[in-house]
């Protein structure tokens, strides 16, 4: 028996270690082979990134540099890349990162300063790339101490999508700048659960980048925040609590069943299938919901600005999926060539030619929005103005010590945001009460902040 026991614990050790390592295999797809350098790029499985992977043979043809893709879902990507850069693993040359990671990682010395790299480029190349054409708000979001550390592949803010046919049928009209109170009253009127029609879809899937993003914009516009100037968590403060209660109540009342497991993709599907009347989410979905190949309601989509409540500050987010060079990369010159290819004006033209203007990576370059084809799209003006007016350094009513609209720009926020939204998903399904969930989250967040040295 003793003998069995020691064997057992051996097995248990192996199992726990295997699990805690979080090892996760993905099959890299080889775009092309070449005797010279091969770049390894880790990307997220969003449609725009899949397009990039498909168009990469053009880059290889032009430069002779082969590119190896590792494509992962968002949450897994963060894990893998964080582990790689934090331990200096050097698995990847270029990583797909967002505005959240760039300043934090730049501070830790995990990414290469791109200003230096641009200075080393031949003058003709730098001029052709035209860095000033990249939207200033996005560039600012990808900088640390005034230096650029990543180039945006596509940028986004958030806005309101609605189904014009359903609105017309109910005799309602959506203002260009709606308030959350209006959205709630529309959603109440448009919900008909017996017909499987829901007034609104919003993300309810736990994760700081899932439910956490739209929820935080609601917290901002209700006048709440995550932390005060002393880094004291504010989850139980009146404004924040009111915002969270509003979000969850609205979703419970007028949202589809299974909201607790609906993230960006699931919400997009529900909306594009015509099951929901309103959807407040990323501007990057505009192309897909307007495309008859991916949307059943493509001709009925209306667009409006993201809803506001007490203050317009922080009511719409700023995000840019970007490419950054890992400090441990061994192919820096080749990496720079790819970076400046995938985020160039020429690349945008290439996508427009191959895949149509609806599928062009949005929110990165002024020139995209000056193009007459793109200007003609019904959403392009709202997207441009939302991306340009989102300000991560001034996104809350009260003064706060952090940057970020839909997140808090500190490394601990991944854990804090994810755990808190997990508790809130429990409120969505009725497992816990809001008071209970917020108290748990508050206590845990205080502990995390104390451990990390923000609180004494």
């Amino acid at each position: 028996m003793r003998h069995n026991l020691s064997k057992l614990s051996g097995l248990a050790v192996a199992c726990v270690i295997a699990i805690s390592a979080g090892e996760y295999r993905s099959s890299p797809s080889v775009a092309a082979m070449s005797p010279s350098a091969t770049l390894t790029i880790v990307t997220v499985n969003n449609p725009q990134m899949i397009d990039m992977e498909k168009l990469t043979p053009e880059f290889t043809k032009e430069t002779g540099i082969a590119v190896n893709y590792v494509t992962l879902p968002e949450n897994t990507l963060r894990e893998k890349v964080t582990n790689d850069v934090a331990t200096g693993g050097g698995q990847f040359d270029l990583a797909t990162v967002g505005t959240y990671e760039v300043p934090i990682w730049a501070k830790n010395g995990w990414l290469d300063n791109l200003d230096d790299k641009f200075a080393q480029l031949p003058p003709g190349d730098a001029q052709k790339y035209d860095l000033d054409d990249v939207l200033p708000s996005v560039r600012k979001g990808l900088s640390y101490q005034g230096h650029l550390y990543a180039l945006p592949f596509y940028g986004e803010s958030s806005m309101t999508y609605y189904n014009k046919a359903l609105f017309k049928e109910a005799g309602l009209s959506m203002p260009e700048h709606p308030t959350w109170a209006q959205i709630a009253s529309f959603a109440d009127k448009l919900t008909d659960k017996s017909k499987r029609r829901y007034g609104i879809v919003l993300r309810g899937l736990p994760g700081w980048g899932e439910m956490g993003a739209p929820l935080t914009t609601v917290i901002n516009t209700f006048g709440g925040d995550w932390f005060d100037m002393n880094w004291e968590p504010q989850l139980e403060s009146p404004a924040t609590k009111k915002a969270i209660a509003f979000y969850l109540d609205l979703l419970r009342r007028d949202g589809p069943p299974g909201s607790e497991s609906a993230g960006y993709t699931e919400c997009e599907t529900l909306f594009a299938q015509g099951s929901a009347a309103i959807w407040v989410d990323a501007t990057a979905a505009a192309g897909a919901v307007s495309d008859p190949r991916t949307s059943k309601v493509s001709s009925d989509i209306g667009f409006a600005y993201s809803p506001v409540a007490v203050t317009p500050k922080g009511s719409h987010w700023l995000w840019a999926w970007s490419l950054a060079m890992e400090a441990s990369s061994k192919h820096k010159a080749e990496s720079m060539r790819f970076l400046t290819w995938a985020t160039s004006k020429e690349y945008i033209d290439l996508v427009a030619r191959e895949r149509g203007w609806n599928n062009v990576p949005p929110g990165t370059r002024l020139s995209t929005y000056q193009n007459p084809h793109y200007k003609a799209l019904p959403y392009s003006a709202i997207v441009l103005s939302s991306v340009q007016s989102a300000d991560p350094s001034n996104a809350t009513l009260n003064k706060v010590p952090y940057v970020g609209v839909q997140y808090v720009g500190i490394p601990e926020f991944q854990g804090i945001g994810t755990r808190t939204t997990q508790d809130l998903a429990g409120v969505l399904t009725g497992q816990t009460s809001l008071d209970e969930a917020l108290q748990t989250a508050q206590v845990r967040t205080e502990r995390t902040m104390r451990e990390a040295g923000y609180l004494k």
């Binding site: 028996m1 057992l8 614990s9 248990a12 270690i17 805690s20 601990e412 755990r419 502990r447």
Partner: protein
């Protein structure tokens, strides 16, 4: 008196076994030693400025005393694993008894019943979550809705049950295989003897088959528990440990600590505690089973 040769023989034995032992220790215990070492440090991957200070047992204290979810995750682990093992063992026994009879097409039925075991856990979870249990598009929800019972959203109303159902579907064939092997190895004479003694089908099963099957049930329980304690794919795909922490088991919680908090020290401490919990459960199981079957079997 006999010590001399005995020692010599022992030395020889040890020398012969040594390479294998060293290999085994290096392979299984070295990672454990590293985990132990990390568990005594505070090391957060995303905060390189904090360094990696030695903090003694404070990670353990934190996990055991202040972390409510850690305790919940242990209870969840016991509850979920226990339900899966018991349900799949019961179903497996039923199916094994059926398959132990001869009927036309038995080979095909057996092959079909075994199939779920060869489906990868993540694939299993994706299919169950999206095709069967999805409240909007799922088959089950459609069925309950058509019967006028309303939509079924099992991951919201009973998330643990959802996980258990998926895992039972996967693990029943395993239990069935072990028990079927046991049934087929039982000597025919005892059945005949029972028949001659006038036992009916139930009392034959209760007093002859079941006790003789004891060691196999024991094996199925033990192996099943060891494997199912590590259940991860279903939780990762279907619920991500939620809603709230309703389906956060200990292995999943360790994964969350390392992947979301990037807290190596705390995750290691939790992993070490997970081993303690697993060993406790295993020893409890062994003792329990010894009491249940040994006297009857011998």
């Amino acid at each position: 008196m006999q010590q001399g040769p005995l020692v010599r023989r022992n030395t020889m034995q040890i020398l012969l076994v040594a390479p294998a032992i060293v290999y085994l220790v290096a392979l299984t215990q070295a990672p454990f030693a590293v985990t132990l070492w990390y568990s005594l440090h505070k090391w957060i991957l995303t905060e390189p400025e904090l360094g990696r200070p030695f903090v003694g047992f404070s990670n353990f204290g934190e996990a055991l005393l202040h972390d409510a979810i850690f305790r919940t995750s242990i209870l969840n682990l016991v509850e979920i694993t226990g339900s899966i093992v018991v349900a799949s063992l019961g179903l497996g026994l039923l199916l094994a008894l059926l398959l132990n009879r001869t009927f036309p097409g038995r080979g095909v039925v057996r092959a079909l019943l075994i199939t779920p075991f060869f489906v990868m856990p993540t694939v299993n979870a994706v299919v169950w979550k999206n095709l069967l249990l999805n409240p909007n598009y799922g088959l089950f929800s459609w069925a309950t809705d058509s019967l006028g019972l309303g939509r079924l959203d099992i991951f919201a109303s009973a998330p643990k049950l959802g996980i258990v159902v998926m895992a039972v579907w996967q693990w029943t064939p395993f239990m069935m295989l072990v028990l079927l092997a046991g049934l087929q190895s039982l000597p025919n004479e005892v059945h005949e003897a029972a028949l001659i003694d006038g036992a009916n089908a139930w009392s034959e099963f209760r007093h002859v088959t079941l006790p003789l099957l004891g060691p196999y049930i024991e094996l199925a329980l033990l192996l099943g528990s060891i494997y199912i304690l590590q259940l991860f794919g279903e939780i990762f795909v279907a619920t991500q440990g939620g809603p709230g922490s309703a389906t956060t088991t200990l292995p999943y919680y360790v994964y969350q600590t390392i992947s979301q908090d990037h807290d190596v020290g705390m995750a290691s401490a939790q992993a070490v505690l997970a081993i303690v919990v697993a060993s406790l459960i295993a020893s409890l199981l062994l003792r329990l089973m010894g009491r249940m079957f040994r006297p009857v079997a011998s």
